[in-house]
Every structure is written in structure tokens, then in C-alpha cells.
Symmetry: D3
Subunit: 253 residues, 6 copies
């Protein structure tokens, strides 16, 4: 069910069968010349949609601005600090837990959010409020991604391009995909003798893109979306099956 569509009265009843809150979290940030700034919340939103018809799931509204300062040099990128993002998502989970839903999944569309989400989840588990792991769609189907594309899934690379063609084709500037991949690296970051020195995206990619976006296709996007959606459903099944107490922090040995 979608929480915000309910009134407080119908929510009272619907929440009785809900076991897992799903919180889509994205970002509004550059995705190169061809993909929309909203890419990461569009994907998060779409994956959350894939579990919305479950009675044991409450999908919360999508949080659209994330940890993206490293994209700030590119026009249109929005960001908040990791601390603010962590607080925002932590308190949102605390709220839903106050209504009795103490398992949650962050359905995440943006790699930059991961550390903050993990700190949030650690706090929530640590004080016994909730068990709230992060689900990153790109980590749920790594082999498929390898099968589909020669290059790395990347940032605004073939995987995201494919997904957007599937989910929001009207927002993809297909004629810019060639330019998007021009002179970009195969993988994220920049390393010198074991030290990571690529602080900002602009330090290692001229267009903001990583991976070859021209490899993307709607067909690949459909396949990725289906496969990853199944993984998300399986994750929710796993969470539903686990008693909450079995998910708590382990005691000192």
C-alpha cells in the first residue's frame, strides 16, 4: 500500500498487516548530457512502485534530494550534507516505527547516499527502533549487468540509461548519448598509488558520466527492472519472514 494515499483511519487498519516500510530515496543531480537530473529518484520511485501492491508493505513518499555535493560543479545538481540526509531519513523511520512498523528498506537510487543510509540504519538498529537496511538496485543484479554491458554499469552509464529508457523515455535525450560517453572513464573515481584523489565527479569525467551510455537500451532496461524488482520482492519476503528480535544487534560475546 502507499501510505500517503490513506487517511489516518484507513491507515490504522492497513498498517496492521504491514510488516515493512519502503522508503524510496534518490537524488537530484547531474547525470550527464542525456539523462535527467531526476534519474535517481525516478528509479527509486519505480522500484518502490514494484512492491506497492503488497499488503505487507507501506511505501512512503520519495525523498528527492540526497548526498550529491560531489556533483555540484554540474548545472542543476541539488544536495544536502550527509549529516542532514542521515537525520532526515532516520527521523522518518522513527516516525513510521512509532506506528508499529519496525522493519524498513531504503530503496535507494543513488550511490552517494549509501554511507549516510548505513549510518542511519546502524543508529536505528542500535537503539532498537528499527531494522532498516539499504537496497541498492545495482547491487541486486550485478551478474545481469555484467552480461548486458561490456562496460561498467557506471554513473549515467549503460545501466541507468537503460532503466531510464524503460521508465521515463521522454526524459532521455537519446541524441546526446554519444556526447555523454565522450572521453569518460570505465569506472568510478581516480586513484594514485592507492590513494583515492577523485573527490568530485568532475575530477575524473568531463561530461559527468562513467561507463558507456550508448550501450544502454530499453530492452536491457526492462530486463534490469524486472530482475531487480524480483530481488526487491525477495528481500521484502526475507524481512517479513524474520522475527524482529532476530534482526536486533547481537550482544557482547
Amino acid at each position: 500500500m502507499r501510505l500517503a494515499d490513506h487517511t489516518t483511519t484507513t491507515a490504522a487498519e492497513a498498517l496492521e498487516s504491514v510488516d515493512v516500510a519502503v522508503v524510496p530515496v534518490g537524488s537530484t543531480e547531474q547525470h550527464g548530457p542525456a539523462l535527467p537530473l531526476g534519474t535517481d529518484f525516478i528509479t527509486a520511485d519505480a522500484f518502490a512502485e514494484a512492491v506497492t501492491d503488497r499488503d505487507d508493505v507501506a511505501v512512503l513518499p520519495t525523498i528527492p534530494v540526497g548526498v550529491s555535493e560531489h556533483h555540484r560543479q554540474f548545472h542543476g545538481t541539488l544536495w544536502v550534507s550527509p549529516e542532514t540526509f542521515e537525520e532526515y531519513v532516520t527521523e522518518t523511520i522513527e516516525a513510521v516505527a512509532s506506528h508499529g512498523v519496525r522493519k524498513a528498506v531504503f530503496v535507494n537510487g543513488h550511490g552517494g547516499n549509501v554511507n549516510a543510509l548505513e549510518r542511519a540504519a546502524r543508529r536505528l538498529r542500535g537503539d532498537g527502533t528499527a531494522f532498516a537496511p539499504t537496497w541498492n538496485w545495482w547491487e541486486s543484479v550485478p551478474e545481469l549487468s555484467d552480461d548486458l554491458f561490456d562496460s561498467d554499469g557506471g554513473h549515467a552509464g549503460p545501466a541507468e540509461t537503460s532503466l531510464l529508457l524503460e521508465l521515463a523515455a521522454s526524459l532521455v535525450r537519446e541524441d546526446a548519448l554519444e556526447e555523454a560517453g565522450d572521453g569518460v572513464p570505465e569506472s568510478w573515481g581516480k586513484s594514485v598509488h592507492g590513494a583515492s584523489v577523485g573527490f568530485d565527479t568532475i575530477d575524473f569525467t568531463p561530461t559527468g558520466v562513467v561507463g558507456d551510455p550508448t550501450e544502454g537500451s530499453r530492452v536491457a532496461g526492462e530486463e534490469l527492472f524486472q530482475a531487480a524488482s524480483e530481488e526487491l520482492n525477495a528481500l521484502v519476503d526475507w524481512l517479513v519472514d524474520k522475527p524482529f528480535d532476530s534482526l536486533r544487534s547481537t550482544d557482547h560475546v
Copy 2:
């Protein structure tokens, strides 16, 4: 224009003509038995939509969870602390200002957000980052509201009920409007000898509603929406006309 629909490249060009960022901010919170939990972001969203086709406006994604702890006893209410909300919106405006858009309007659907938004706006103006006042739709057309309804516009009262009937009728449980208004007060809060002692909504309304929702109608909603949308457009015009320097903090006398 809608920022998130642009790629970074097309945003670069489009932002050149943008003068005002519009940030819809709402809440996910109880609106009594008849209106959806998403009421406040649905209205914020809809009003922002009313200025989306302007080239001098960039509409940002909607921020869906706000300052609503005082509704926490009712099922489904989400909230973050005033401090976290203030940070989240302040940093979002700082980001958009970094791309050259230094006037903004918070298009706000929730009274509980107002103080935090005003603190944010004060900071942003104080350090010269941006001029970002808050526009509350219900304050833009007070006379119309008085004309349309006998009771106060309220919370989940006749004004919001009317707007929702206009904007998202499928989410309104019209058969629950009667029950929603049962035993509720005419106006917000609870005062004892000059001291406000209504800390939480539940302290002064049994259903979570203030004002008589049965007074609401789709026709009234349409009228409210049109009138307030015109006010918002007029506010944007006013901002566009003002040179940024004329909006800065005044110096010491």
C-alpha cells in the same frame, strides 16, 4: 520549468532565464478520517505545478515529510524535527543558489513547517545566499476562504477538503466527512487564560480535524485553487521584478 526533468546540459541553458526557484514543501500527516495523509504535499505540488510552465521559474522536487510531531498520535503521521527540516530546505536552497538562482519561494502546504521555513529564510538572507520567503496558500486568499465557508479553513477542514476534491478526489473519503467533523473545534489550538496549552492536535480535536469539513466542495476547491494560483503567480512576478540587491538585509541604521 521542472528542474529534475532537465539534463545537466539543458539545465545549463534553461537556468539562464530562471529567476525564481519554487520548492514545494508539504507533510505526510493525519488529516482526519476523510482526507489522505499526503494532503499537504499534494496541495504544495499542485500549486507549484501552476507556475511550472513559466520560463523564469524552476520547480524543484517536492519535499514530502515536514514538521508534524504534534500529529504523531494519529496513525500514519510522519515527521522530522524542526531543526532537521530547516537544514534540509536550507541546504537545498544553497545548492540551487550555487547555480545562480538566488530568489526562491517555498510553496508550502503545511502550517507546522512555517517557523522552520522562516528560520531557514532568515539564515539564507542573512548570509547573502538567497531570498526565499514562504508562500502559504491559505494566507494568500483569506477573504475568499471567509466568503466560501462559515467555519474556519482549519486543518482538514472545509478549505483543504475542497482543494483535495478538486486536486485528488479519488483520495477523499467523502462518506467520512461527517464523522471527520464530529465534535471538532472551530479554530486551532487550546488556550487557558492567555497561555497556549494545546501542544498536540489530539489535545483539542478528537478526529484530528479543525473546522467543518462538510462545508467543503469541489467547486469551492476549484475557486480556491484558481485564486491562490494567481496569487502565487503574482508573487513570482513581484520577485522577478525586484533586483536581488533590493531584497538583501538592511544595514544597521
Copy 3:
């Protein structure tokens, strides 16, 4: 009783019959050319004095600097941030609660303090420490104020002018009252199409005053003071009558 006049030993005994702590909170800020910078703590102090001879009340020392940044452009205004003020008053109440006095009233002389006081009170109630509403004298006798003056009570307007003439006439520059009211607005703030754009007092009043101060008189001040003092006494009575548990936060429905 006045807490600070007691020794710890006599306080031990006196506190046994005390049910309500009274904390006068004011500000040191511009009140136009005619009223002293100390206006808001002078009034808070005087109202607290009106309940000092009650055995069931402990009056704490007056907190003299408040949330007044919006008056900063006028000479002599002092201020602290809302966060600092909130902390200062919250911790003061926590201290008095540690001695067994868990009901309190902020006797407040300054509108700018209200939001911070309400956040403090929410925290104190939320964690079960104390019930500490804010009493604003101007909200305790709104009809009387309307009866006495044609214009709004205002800031440094007729109501405060009257009170100061009653309470501290030697600090009122009566010959400046005319100048004080020159070109000032009837009511607080500045609104454009539903958006509040009067961030600082100086944005909407040239002298720092709101309302017509020449309407003020010692006689009106005496009347205001008596009437509001009675309201404060009635509020204390109400608090004394309420069992502490009946004032706690309500549970989830």
C-alpha cells in the same frame, strides 16, 4: 515566593508547597524612540511580581536577553539565537524540575521568544520532565486591548507604552511618543500575495514601532496590568488544580 531570595535550607522547606515555577523571560531590544530597551523584561518582571506572594509559586530570576535578531539594525538591541535561547530556558526548567517543581509558566514579555519557548515546552513535556506553557500577557486580555485602543497593541505601540507608563514611567520619553508613531504601520509584518517578506522590523517600520503609541496612557496601563495579572493568577490556579499526570503527552490513539 522568590526562589533566589531563599537559602538552600529555607528553599527546601518552601519548595514543598510550591507547585508552579514562574520564569520571567524578556528581551533587551529596541522599542522605538520613546520606550526603553528593557521594556520586555520590565513587563515580564512586573507580571511575575504579581504572583510572587503566592506560596504555591516560585518565581525564578528574569532572563533578560531573548530572540531579537530581527531588531538588530536598531541601536542597543541584544539577542541570542533561537536555539541558544531554547536551550537556556529548557535547562533552567530541567533544573527546577529536579527539585520537584514540574509545572512552570514562562511569563513572557516578547513575541519573538514564543516559538523557541514552545519548542522548549514541547521537549519538556515530551520527555516527561515538566509542563511549561508560555503566558503572553498580550494574549491574555485581547478584548481589553481592543477596547482601550483604536490601533493594534503593536510593538512599542499603545499597549506597551501604557504598561511602561504604569510600571516604569521614568524610563518613558513621553516627548518622543509622537515621533515614535510617525509613519508606522497598524500591524506587524509585511505580506506580498500571501508570502511574509518582512524579515526584520526595519523592513516595515521606520522607527521600530508598530501601532500608535500616542494612544497609550498610564490609566490604560494600570487597567491592562490588573486585568492581565488576574489572568496570570487564574492560569496558575488552573495549573495547581491539574494533577501533573493529566498534563502529560497523550498516548498514540
Copy 4:
């Protein structure tokens, strides 16, 4: 001059000749069975009064609650955290500095405030806002104190008892002085093999007193008050003579 007695208009003129802001800071805390809880702000207030008629001084309102958690076990003690107190005084000085008064003295009545005041002063000097040392009356006349009393000045000991007899005799319970000094230590704190283990006053004094209060007298109080007041005046003279730039932080060698 006393700042709060001025209107903003007369303050504008008076502040032109002011060179030093004087901020009385005290505490509301146990001073044993014989002295009032307000002892520390009463003394701070009185010393500030001693420089009020200087045109080059602006006396600010007295800050009455300080860093006194270590007295919390005794009835009536109020306190805020060191961080909150530091913020409150720092921001107050920032405010007065914004009106052009960039030298200040904290006239301090309470030893527990010293560390927080010093951190505040370091910040204010470090960022170039103000030079704001702390004046502790008991450190201005150490030899006189040694001459007047056999025992240490102490806490609620002979020095404070004498001052209170001079400044607020009606609040001193002289018949309790004997009991106050019963079984109390000669000096502050408790040390074990070089480690300070006296965290709270109650850890080392049964009545809350340190030093023999029966040694106190009004005559000694008068002498102390005169001598220390002269020192404060001399400090203000010293500050007035120093160009502000000569008081700034020194550069790196």
C-alpha cells in the same frame, strides 16, 4: 550607563562614548544555609553598578543562571550546561559588538562560570569580534581577603558572607552562619594522590559551604566591595586606554 534604561534613540547617542560593555554574570545556586541562592548574581550586579555612572561603560542586564550543575544536589540550585552558557554570553557580546562596542568585561560572581567565559572570550577574540576578559571579584583583591580572614574566602565562606551583609543583609540568615560552617573544609575540592575526585560540592562539604562563614562581617564586606570596585574601575580604565587592535590575537611567530 545602563543599556536597558535607554531607548534605541538615546542609546544611539550614548553608545558613541561607550568603550566597554560590562556584562554581569552570576548563578542561582546553593550558598549554604545562611546565604541566598541569588548570592552570585547579587554580587555581580553590585559590582557592575559600581561602574554604571561611567559614560564610557554600558552595563548590560544581569545573566542570572550559570554553570552550577555541581551544586545540583542542594535545593533550589539552577544551572545550564557549560555549552549553553558559553553560547548565551558569546552571542550577547556579538550583539553588543554589532553596535560598535568591541571591548567588554564579564563581571562574574561565580567560579563555575569561569571556564565557559574563557572559552567564549577566546572565540570572540579569535574571530576578531571583541576582547572580553572575565573579571572575578575574588581574584582582584586576594591579599585583602587573606588579611581579613583566617580561612580561605571559599564558597559561601567569609568573603561572600561579608559581601552579602554589605549588599543584601536582609537576605542573610545570620543565625544560620554557625551551622553553615559546621564540618566544612578550608578549601575547595577533594584530591587523592594528585587526582581531583570532588566532582560535586556535596562530595566534600556537608552544608555546601567552603571556608568559615562566621568570620564574615559587614565591615569586611564594605572593605572588600570598595577595594574590588576600585580594581574593576582600574580594569575598565586599562581597557579604555588600549586601542582595540592592540588587544587582538597575535599572529604566528
Copy 5:
């Protein structure tokens, strides 16, 4: 040079030729039954030692407690929060930068520190204070590690075991290596359908170890240490060669 061995006078001269500060950062945390709790600062220390004789390097004292809460269930683990660790290292770099050394390397012995170090480095670069990337020894020689061991380098696995045998053999309990590797996973963490659910080490390894420690040897340790030390030297060379301005954050496109 080692900074702490200098007096301030000799440091003044020596710092003139220093271009890069090296800050060893480790942790005190469980490394299974066979390796000492100090493993991570011992390795950090040793690698820093490898560049100590360079005149263009100042080695700072080793920071011994890091971000290790996820090992807390095992005896002896110490930790601070990520925020505290980030502050501690950030301020340390700010201090050394105040003496003119604005390039730095965190020589890091602990994976759990990485995110906090990267946030610190981002802040330091963002405000123009310093360029301070993190060097993780295990990321400087990944191929060698793959060549030397069948299993992953791991936590307290073959790579760390080898290094400790080389650097501090007396602290390795070689007779416990077998037990250490009993039932442990090949790689870090625990993933369910794309979600990381291994919050604490104890969630996925019974002994606290990851990777097979019995593969470790002193010879492998020597090889790893030499190879990685060369990489660190090469990184320092790279930093020395880069003008500071070329390392600053890039401007908006």
C-alpha cells in the same frame, strides 16, 4: 622528519622544506584470536615510519582509536563515533596547515575509518585548507595481495597476519591462527538480495576474522610491506610535484 621529536625552534626550520604531512591513523579493535588489538595502528605506524626520513615529509603522532563500533561485541575493541573521528583528524590537519603544510596523507590502517577520513578530506579541500587524501595500504598493492594469497586479504586475514609477522611478530599468537580462521567467510559483509545486512562483524564471522589467516607468512609480510611502502613514497612524490593550487576543488563548469 618526525614532527613531535622537534622543538618548536628546530621545527620552524625543518618545516620550511616539508611539503606533506603524514598522519598515521589506526584503530584499537578485535583482530581475531591471533592478532593484537593494536594491529591497525601498528601497521599505520610502520608505513609512516617508511617515509620518516624524507625531509619533505612531517610524520605526525599516530591516532590510535578509530571508527570501530561494528567490532564492539568483541573484547577489547575501542571506538569513537564517525563524527568525532572526523573532527579529530580534520582539526589536526587544520593545525598543521596553519604552519604552512597544506598537503597531507592519512596513512590508514583501518577500513572502518575510510568514510570519515574522506568526509574530512572533502571539508579540508572544500574550504581551501589542505589537500589530504587517504592512503589505504591494502589498496596500494591489490595485485600483489591476489598473487600471494588464495583468499581475500580480509580483516585479520592473510594480509594483516603477514604484515604483523613482519612488523610485530611477538604480538602474533601463531598457535591461534588455525582457530582464527575457523568457519570464517572469504569476504567482508553479508548481503541479502542486494541489501547489505551485515551491520556488525559478529553478524557474519564467528571469530571476528575474514579471509584465511593461515595463509599468512612473514615472507609475504615483508613483500607486502616493501611494495606498499614504495607506493606510499610514490604517492608522496606525486603530491610534492603537484602545485597546491592544482589540487584545489574545481570551479563550477
Copy 6:
């Protein structure tokens, strides 16, 4: 025992007999032309070493950067803010307390750390986590110091010079001792009419030294070290003897 030398398995057993954690805390800061920047952690380290062979003591790694901003104008000084230092040490004690060791001693080499350590200790005692007083070597043998030297022990004065000659003679530049004491004051700080105005060391000593370092000698250092080490052992004995509950905060009277 030294905690970091143990594996988690041997620590489990060893910690059973441990009653007191010893945390050496120092600073890296100017000690004039003759003593090393590491003086304060070298001494802290050495004193901690003196109790390392006790089975009832766990010595933690040395924390090398402390509260030394007031020395910042001298080359090589490192520092963190008091708040950061307080957090770092508080959390470290919380960690060791989680393994059952709830008494601790900060073996402190630096006067500037004292206030932050005391705030940390107050918090740790206040919430029942641990009893963790600070041991300052110079306060454990004040009479001996007076006997040995004509001048005050000072900063980089005769006491520290003597200790360093005993503990790390190779780092002492004996030929610079004369210069070090040139024109320096006998005691710490600078006072004007009862106000402390010596914010930074450089405000009152040209070389960074206080007290006459030429009075120092290895023999005196040996005597100081032995005597103070005995005091530390005696303090540990005292702590071991005290039941933890007898060290908790006292209740309200």
C-alpha cells in the same frame, strides 16, 4: 597490561582481573626551543608505563593531540577543540566500559586538557558509565617540585625539562635551555586588576616557556618520575579498593 598488545581472546581473560583503565593523554605543542613538541605525550606515556605491569590495570593507547590552541602561534603546535577532545576521550572510555572496566584514570601530560577531561569525567559519572578522574603528574608531587626548584614548575620549565632529561634525553636540546628561559615569566598567565588577559602563551612569554628551564636536571627528573609514579600507583590502589557504587554521583539531599 597493555590493552593493544592483547588479542581479543587473551583480552577477554585478562580483562577479568582489570579494574582500572589508564588512558595516557598528551599534546603535541611547543615547549620552547629546548624541549620536543611531543613532551606532553612522552610524559603521559612514561607514567602510564609505570603501571603497565599491574594485572588490575589496562593501559590504553596514548592520545597524542590535545587542547592546545593557545600555543598555536608557535611552529609545530597541533590542537583540536576542547569539544572534540572531550568527545574523543569520553567515547573511548565508554568503549572500554562496555567491556566491563568502569573505573579509569586519565594520565594527563598537559594542563590545557584538564577542563575538557573534567567535563568528560562529569558526563561519564553522571550517566553511570564510569568513574574517570584525571591525574596530573605535576599536581601529585607539588611539595617535591617546590623543594627541587626555586622557580615554578612551569610550562617547559624546570620540572618538564628534568622529566624529559630522564625520559627522552636525546630529544632535549640542552644547549638551548639558556635561550629558552630568556625573559620568561615565573608563573603562567597575565592578569590585569583581577582579570586574566593572557589568552595565548605568546601573550606573556616570548619563547613559549614559563619558569626557569636551566634549573632542570636528569637527577631531579628521576626523583620527580619516581615520586609521581608512586602517587599514580597509590591512586590506582585507591580506585581498586573503592566499590564502583561508592564512586557514583550522590543523590539529591
